[in-house]
């Protein structure tokens, strides 16, 4: 068996079903980082993320025979991961999250911006290499409630299409778009405040 063959999703699954150690290794190397990162962004806790990652691999072994290959392997695994994380969240006390409404743009009665909007897009470009900015954005996304955070991470951080995100989360495409839009509006506003005040509120 040439290792490159295992990069084909269907071959990899077939070998997993046969119990090939090499296939297990390839599966682990290909997905453990993403699984852990995704679990961390949903659960925000290292040991929870580690346990969720274990759950994901167990589910993959148990359900390897049900993978039909009509969706990509990574999106199947992401779905398993999101489900494993949401199951874990269910049993926990609700985490403190911001009220996204406070960050939505404000308009006058006739639909004009209530106060002038500044343009910091050039300014932020200069700060882009700054590690602090990355940490600040991460903190802002962590403050989002899970409803928005999961969509945002899959679509805007992981760069999946709205269709893929919808499929993974079992949502409609319009629902994904609307959550994503609100998450971006929130982040845009948080960033505006951060850049204006030079610190996280």
């Amino acid at each position: 068996m040439h290792a490159e063959r295992l990069f084909d999703d269907n071959v990899l699954l077939e070998e997993l079903r046969k119990g090939s150690d090499e296939a297990v290794e390839v599966l682990f190397q290909r997905f453990h980082g993403k699984i852990y990162g995704l679990a961390m962004s949903i659960l925000k806790n290292e040991s929870d993320a580690e346990e969720a990652a274990q759950d994901v691999f167990l589910t993959v072994f148990q359900k390897a025979h049900t993978f039909k290959g009509n969706s990509a392997l990574y999106s199947w695994i992401y779905r398993i991961c999101v489900n494993a994380c949401l199951m874990r969240l269910r049993g926990k006390r609700r985490q403190e999250t911001v009220s996204i409404e406070e960050f939505m743009p404000v308009f006058t009665e006739d639909g004009m911006h209530a106060s002038p909007v500044g343009d910091w897009s050039k300014e932020v470009e200069r700060k882009m290499l700054d590690k602090e900015l990355g940490n600040v954005i991460k903190k802002f996304t962590e403050d989002l409630s899970e409803k928005y955070r999961v969509v945002f991470v899959l679509s805007d951080v992981e760069g999946l299409s709205n269709e893929e995100t919808a499929q993974i989360l079992g949502l409609t495409v319009p629902a994904v778009k609307s959550r994503l839009h609100r998450a971006r509006l929130y982040l845009r506003e948080e960033l505006s405040r951060y850049l204006r005040e030079g610190k996280v509120a």
Partner: protein
């Protein structure tokens, strides 16, 4: 088109799924509204810089622990399956043995007798195998192919009919 409507539609505007005429209306508004131009720029920039956010990396210690866990569980899982398959094969071997014994002792049910005779006349290897038994003792082993053929009789048995008298 006012600012509120424009902000509402920004997602579609930027991902290129917006219909031409509506896009034109947004362009006209953006052209004459500084706040909306700035809003568009900063919204778009937010989207772009978020692409650069890295998911949390797995700590080295976790990675090794997770890897050992995954490898151990994969083997355990596979062993479980192998054990199940071995049990099923053992079960079938026993059934075929009982079937052959019942045949030699002429205890087969009527439909199974018919199936058995028809098959051994038609299938060379099973025919030869049964002739070799020649009313003697239980065979030491049954070749897998023959075992498979005999097991099929059991599956073909009409519902409710016992394969042989005990």
């Amino acid at each position: 088109m006012n600012c509120k409507e424009l902000v509402y539609l920004l997602g579609d505007y930027l991902d290129g799924t917006m219909e031409e005429q509506l896009r034109g209306e947004l362009d006209v508004h953006i052209e004459m509204c500084d706040s909306c131009t700035n809003f568009l720029n900063t919204y778009d920039k937010t989207r772009i810089i978020c692409r650069q956010v890295q998911l949390n990396e797995i700590p080295e210690e976790f990675r090794e622990r997770l890897r050992s866990f995954v490898i151990a569980k994969a083997r355990e899982h596979h062993k479980g399956i192998e054990k199940y398959l071995a049990l099923a094969a053992e079960e079938r071997r026993k059934e075929v043995r009982s079937l052959l014994r019942a045949f030699r002792e002429k205890r087969l049910s009527p439909s199974l007798s018919v199936l058995f005779d028809a098959h051994r006349n038609r299938c060379e290897i099973c025919g030869a195998f049964i002739r070799a038994l020649n009313g003697g003792e239980d065979p030491a082993s049954v070749p897998p192919e023959i075992e498979e053929h005999f097991a099929e009789f059991l599956d073909a048995l009409p519902p409710g009919e016992e394969p042989y008298r005990s």
